[in-house]
């Protein structure tokens, strides 16, 4: 029996996830993309098949004993940390990219995170597809008020989520996304990933780092009780006009500093901000060497003139169009979240 889930992101990008079985709790509660879940779908951009498959890796170039590559195609068997997986990507240049993925995770994480690696690869290829359509799938948070959006870009640990929580519940802002938003020229489209988690955090936690066992228990109960609903208690904005962009960096000094920076300076940094996502340790599985980046590099090694090989430069062009005429601030924040941090950012956003 196949389990099929369809997702439609603002009619810009459509994808489908197909599983052989509904194998764990995480699948059942369907956290990550549930906001975009739809019944029927055609004109797919990406299909992700999860489960055993036989690779069509004949007539391939072999790179470093490991990556099987031919035009439009990549296969490899990979392992790192607690995970082992087989992945096959075909149709890289076609209308529909097909990902076949079969993975295993050792230890207790397998209970919750069995398709973490696949989801991450999916995000990577979504970014690639969005770029082909002239959209920047930014690793950034976004909030809006009166159709005016403010976007916070920053690496993990810069409290993007906590900021969003406080903007939504203290200052009456609408939510666009706390990890990803979609940008195109002066338009920001929402991408509320894991919305039910975010919504619960807004109602129950002072900030993103105040999870404890009791809260986790409460959350699990809440998820189970509302598993059939598209549940959210917060106001979500579908799209808004980009008003300002903040590039946030965490430091181990104690002060908050703000300086305005040029749009020129920020293009490279925004492109890099997305690329560094490849190195983020996935769900505590100990995968941090950047396997997805290696796939793209191995492909570029064989096909140096391909769009994949040039996609980094292409995405910079898209970003350039976005940041051209808006104020951009670089904000350095201390390593602990506090209300004074939120207040400072709130002031900055109000006056932008």
């Amino acid at each position: 029996m196949k389990f099929i889930k369809n997702y439609n992101i603002h009619d810009i990008l459509k994808f489908r996830i197909i599983r052989n079985k509904e194998h764990n709790l995480r699948d059942l509660i369907n956290l990550k993309f549930s906001f975009f879940n739809v019944e029927e779908l055609d004109d797919l951009d990406i299909i992700l098949n999860i489960g055993k498959f036989t690779p069509s890796n004949m007539d391939c170039y072999l790179v470093d004993h490991k990556y099987y590559i031919k035009e439009n195609y990549l296969y490899c068997r990979d392992s790192e940390g607690k995970a082992t997986w087989d992945v096959e990507i075909s149709g890289l240049k076609d209308k529909t990219i097909i990902i076949n993925f079969n993975g295993e995770i050792k230890g207790f994480q397998s209970l919750m995170n069995s398709d973490f690696v696949a989801q991450n690869l999916l995000l990577r290829l979504m970014e690639y597809k969005f770029a082909g359509k002239q959209y920047y799938f930014a690793h950034s948070a976004g909030i809006s008020k009166g159709k005016q959006a403010h976007v916070f870009a920053g690496r993990g640990g810069t409290f993007k989520t906590s900021l969003c929580m406080d903007f939504v519940r203290r200052a009456g802002f609408e939510f666009l996304g706390d990890d990803r938003v979609i940008l195109h020229r002066d338009k920001v489209l929402n991408f509320p990933m894991g919305l039910r988690v975010f919504s619960f955090m807004c109602d129950n936690l002072p900030n993103e780092n105040s999870w404890n066992l009791a809260k986790k228990g409460k959350f699990a109960k809440h998820l189970w009780e509302t598993r059939k609903e598209k549940y959210s208690t917060i106001e979500i904005s579908k799209s808004a006009k980009l008003k300002s962009l903040l590039l946030i960096a965490k430091t181990n000094s104690k002060t908050i500093t703000v300086r305005e920076i040029s749009s020129k300076e920020v293009v490279d940094r925004l492109a890099a901000n997305n690329r560094l996502e490849d190195f983020v340790s996935l769900g505590g599985l100990g995968i941090n060497s950047g396997p997805h980046l290696k796939y793209m590099l191995a492909y570029s090694y064989i096909f140096p003139d391909s769009y994949i090989a040039k996609s980094q430069e292409e995405s910079k062009k898209i970003i350039r169009d976005i940041v051209e005429n808006i104020p951009i601030y670089e904000v350095e924040v201390p390593s602990k979240y506090s209300l004074s941090y939120f207040n400072k950012i709130h002031e900055l956003v109000k006056n932008a």
Partner: protein
Amino acid sequence: MAKLEENYSLHDAVTFKIVDKPSFLSNFLGDIHTEYENFENKLVKNPDFTIDIGDFTPDNENSCILDNKYYVKHNYFYCSDSYKTAKWKFEMSGFENGDMKVRIYADNLFTSMIISGFLVDPLINFKLSEKGLSLVHASCVSKDNCGYLFTAQGGGGKTSNALYSVERGFDFLGDNFTIIDNGLVRSFLSPLNVFSFNLAPIVKKNMGRKSKVEYLFKNLLHKVTGLRVVTKINVKDIFSKSLVDISKLDSAFLLIPKNRFKIERIGRKELISHMVANMKLDSFPFIKYMMEYSYIFPKSRMATHWQRYTQNLNTNINNDISAYRVEVPKTYDMSTFEEIWGRIQTGITRK
């Protein structure tokens, strides 16, 4: 054990110093000094960079912290990292202004074995680039001052082709890395990594008694325990008469494993774009640190390294190079060597 301090020089273009405390096992597994012993040079005065190996407390106050892991400030990078069973701490500073200091702590013995490939080779690449030279992931042999470069990813046959050519009277410049400098190839003599499955006849024939005992023991170890341990052999102990420091770069063969032998001429530009991607793939995990630093400082030397690397290759590889793209079978046999060899021979007679 006492601290071991050694200076190294790569053709006087890049010099560095390594300080560490070797353990009693590191001799057996091949420590970092073994990796660079052919570059030892007592005359080095002010090395371009210094690597201290051992535990340390990072100077990471007032840094930006990326993903709660990478510490970045101007001219400074630090992180604690891991890959499979290897775990290490890595700190570098002074790379933007020429006073480069590196500190590395290897958490276990396995980590000590991979430090050179993971961290030191990419550092050498960065420094060579700063000086306008190109470190390339390629083996090279030479005859009558004509250098033949074999560039490939792992499994492409860099070592095999080089050793095969030495058996047929060519001189040797390196089996994994070589340096290209203004139309010339300069040697990069790293130890050969010998396993039972890649023991070339020329190595087997000329291996010293000590190496042979070591190799046989490790081979036995593999059969009994399944544990595969490399035997490092210095090329100077095997064919010291077939080594040259420098040669003109004549031809380059880009070797890519596929199904069967196929060869075609390619342009210099195409060759270079493959070589850049090759080097990037070979620079993990260091390339990650470069990217983390570049996120904060996008105009720095570290951030512009790959641009410079590409420019240098464009300058250092002459227009008259003969470049070939060679598809080779996934498992080499003698006929593959003969085919490539044939191509080299025709090149020679044509001159």
